[in-house]
Amino acid sequence: MEPRIPTRMGDGSLVEMTRSEIQADLEAGTQLAAKKAKVPELVQDELDHLLDIYASAARFTAVDIGDEVVLSNDGTGTKHIGNRVQDLQSYEALLGVDMVELWQIDYSYKAIKTNVAHEGQTMKIAQNLLTNPVQYGAMPDLGRYSKPDGPIPNWSELLPMGKIDEARRAQEEACEMLVEDIDFVADAMVAAGADGIDFDTTGAAGDADFLAGLTACRKLREKYPWLGIEIGMAAEFVLGMHGQLEFDGERLAGMWPKDQLRMAQQAGASIYGPAVNINTGRSTAWNIARAITFIKPAMEIAEIPVHVNVGMGVGAVPTCVYPPADATSRASKAFVEILKIDGY
């Protein structure tokens, strides 16, 4: 009888599977991703390598010495250790992350605009107390501009009523407001000494959200050639909430990681962060094969660093508050060794 190996589901629960069952999940994960995104399946060597990583009872795994990558650590800190700067210091000193990110709990550029001077002051203090690069991060969060939170008619209400043109106009107007707000906050953070700006979960509200991130990125790149600009995505696929928006003549709706990366490069981003959401009802083996299949075509054309999102519900790290180190370290090793990523 084939021995059973402890492994994880996408919700973090510990289960036991045989090596054959894990292998079958790896194959099913890559096949599904390949079919959805119309990209090649992983080759046999890659599946064998993933099987070696995932069909193991080891509590922890790691890359070889010398193969380490940059940990950019979006959303640094716990928000509950001392003040926010002390939180960053603890991650620099105790965890050894390579970059830290200052952020506020209402993680949205629109929300930050109202207290940007205080955020800038905190950035200035952080710069005086840390050696690591310190970036400022938030979500573009386009939905905040629609009623009742914002001034723009709510496209999620207009669309079911069949008011397609009105819904599109609303998103275009919101997009312009968002670009202005990101630009306003970024200028203040640069004046306070920030090393970089992070657009986290870009595209969460669809193609207009992605367009705002790309447009703001290009605007900032023209002003600050040296500035770190990270475009981290919300999901593997850009939803076409508008459906007709373009950047540099290319339709954004429906873009998978390879095309997302091309747009980020063209906009002038320093770092692109693909995100592949997890299926909590499938094993982490199934999820890692699916995630790597989606992202692999992007890695093959990347001219800028790619930092894969690998935490709490993305990148084959389970959706739970305390992701188990066995699952986290397996995802870490798999992305580095199969995809040769630049960081995460």
Partner: protein, 108 residues
Amino acid sequence: MEGAHAQASGMGGMRTAGDLVARMQMTRRMRLREAKQYVADKLGCTPRDLSDPTAMEQIRLEKGLGTLAATSSTHPDEPGMMEAKFNISKTLDIPINCVERFKARARL
């Protein structure tokens, strides 16, 4: 979770040269291999040394790139955070925003 990533495949931040490689990715948009080689060339070491805390402690002390104060290992007469960033900027030949603003505001 960050701890697991840091141990599984992270460069090590200021314990090593992770912060320096990160700066090349941010400022010059360099991919990992190029960024590591660039930093190694500037420091006169190999790319593998960049994630070795033993090798990097000596290099950081020699070049004034800042070290972490940890229990019995303190360096009060060595560069602190902002001072280290002046040296990092010069060593890597890149602008560091807060260093440039410090110079301007201090009328240096």
